[in-house]
Symmetry: C2
Subunit: 358 residues, 2 copies
């Protein structure tokens, strides 16, 4: 029986939940008289028809995580703090909270050795040197296998040259980045009827595009030319990167302005090369159509199963989560009778890449 | 030898170019002392480092189109007015220009019978009944094989219920929509260093996402439930729709708000069903990774070759256009020795679907 590893599994640690409960502005937990506690993570969500998202013990109780893993035959989960991480905190508080939360995460993993590993959180509102110090500390923690990062970086995106010191530190300690969206796109792009469609447009389209823009900016700015061994695990199978990589390369090769400015240099690594050497993709894509594109772009040895738990719970209380099943079925359908590759994507790749002892 | 048909091929007709030259605001043609004529189609482009895009005879001279077709072994092109079409005109002028331009297009096709067909343009700023009248007229023109449409519809998107009368008219006359992006995304989403990357982020990511949002809004609003036979050819292989279709469906099926509101009804057609019965995809995707996802989503019998000529010309004056070659190579690489399917995608699908006499 293959081991199943979930590399896309979020927790809000108890201290983080407590922090959200003390706040009165985004992000925060707001209690409504009719629908109870809701997590409000984007401006205006508490006034929208959907009123944020329900928040309950599955968000913070590790026993719920373990029960979910049991009922879905998941051997090991690599847990990560969910968005918006520490993006909203002032530097000193972010630095303090990162140390605290990374300690909590490592302790949770210790208490469930072999079943839990974690991606650490960084105090990105602090200085690059404070971040570097936290990376040094993270590398000393037993169960950390990388860091989760949103798309804002130090405030102006992941193509910020000031991040080079952070990328270099991550390379040095062989810690991959788990790159994850949070902010989506400005709501105006969804038009005047978006509220009628619940969260669908922002979650299904805004999230993946946020990731795609972020990693494309990294690529265009030369991050992967300077940090040749940097490893980035992209959430949701890369957003849309596998599908659009050809178009990105073509637009680059046809840009007259960049040619004139001498910026189309032959030494720039091809995006396809970056996809096969620096990018890992989770398999959170809910269809074999997308999964096969992810495999074709980065190679089956770089794809790792995930669930996005505790998000997308079943709406009618079913024990088996449809969201998890869709991602498992996509693997089954994509590889057919090739059980070795299916097993690699389900768990063996993660065990090898993230050096897990399961 | 297979016939090659290009379904994604733009022209700016002489009257449209004349119109752009008279204008002093977007969209317009501006003459710079140092770099000559530039087409400025988005606000601020003339002040950006790239200063719009070079515009020359390949945009309006049909002989350049025919020469391109000859040198790339393209038997037949289905030409369409390029963005931003008539979106910017007041209703009466849009109505007048649509009639004029559709006449010009049909005449061009007559002069090059068998080599040229066209998608007509609609006066979308006019009333639905004026649009309906133009559709009626278009159906009487010999060489029209559908209509090109941007993503704004009557001004508030393609999920506007007022468009139902337009969709019904297109269904009645069996005219497919060629859905094409123009506006991209607000430039703020590309961050503070976007100008350094030329047009890459807006063209490579903004355009495809604009298309994806537009068609997803159509789907969510029930257009394909009401207009069950409406046919829509999506530019750039659907933007990102094939890759994200699984996520769109999953987000829909997990939306607690939509469930509570009774909007998750069992009768809604699955997006996968729409992809296989209502959506055609061009093959303008520049890689076999994307093309294979397009094929997996809609079926190889619904994919049609295109070039996006006259955009993405070779930067160093090569006779063979890299942009066209990448799209041909993608087909060759995707289907390997399956020449029948490759030939279908290169031309036979378009001949069958658009009823071309080549």
């Amino acid at each position: 029986m293959a081991k199943i590893v979930d590399v896309h599994s979020h927790v809000y640690t108890p201290s983080y939940i407590a922090l959200l409960r003390t706040r009165k502005e985004v992000p925060f937990i707001r209690t409504f008289a009719d629908i109870g506690d809701r997590l409000i993570i984007l401006p205006g969500e508490d006034e929208s028809p959907s009123r944020g998202r329900p928040v309950g013990p599955s968000y913070w109780d590790i026993n719920e995580k373990l029960a979910f893993m049991d009922s879905h035959s998941i051997s090991t989960s690599v847990i990560s703090l969910a968005n918006p991480w520490l993006d909203f905190l002032a530097p000193a508080e972010a630095t303090e909270q990162a140390r605290l939360i990374n300690g909590e995460l490592d302790q949770l993993c210790s208490q469930h050795a072999g079943r839990l590993y974690a991606f650490a959180v960084l105090p990105l509102s602090a200085t690059a040197s404070a971040i570097e110090a936290e990376i040094q500390h993270i590398s000393s923690l037993k169960h950390m296998r990388g860091v989760i990062m949103g798309t804002t970086g130090l405030g102006s995106g992941l193509d910020d040259p000031l991040l080079d010191i952070v990328y270099a530190a991550l390379e040095k300690h062989e810690l991959p980045i788990f790159l994850h969206p949070h902010y989506g796109l400005p709501s105006a792009v969804y038009g005047p009827r978006a509220d009628k469609y619940g969260h669908v447009l922002s979650l299904a389209l805004g999230f993946p595009l946020e990731t795609t823009i972020a990693v494309t900016r990294m690529y265009l700015s030369g991050v992967f030319d300077r940090s040749k061994t940097l490893q980035v695990l992209l959430a949701h199978s890369g957003g849309t990167l596998p599908f659009l990589a050809g178009r990105i390369e073509s637009c680059l090769e046809h840009d007259g302005y960049l040619l004139k400015e001498g910026k189309l240099n032959e030494e720039k690594r091809a995006l396809w090369d970056v996809l096969r050497k620096n990018i890992y993709l989770d398999a959170v894509i809910y269809s074999e159509v997308g999964l096969q594109a992810a495999v074709a772009a980065s190679g089956a040895e770089r794809i790792m199963f995930g669930t996005d738990h505790p998000f997308f719970p079943p709406l009618r209380g079913e024990e088996e989560w449809l969201s998890a099943r869709l991602n498992r079925d996509a693997i089954k359908n994509a590889f057919g009778s090739d059980n070795t590759t299916a097993n690699n994507v389900l768990g063996d790749n993660a065990i090898r890449i993230l050096k897990l002892h399961t």
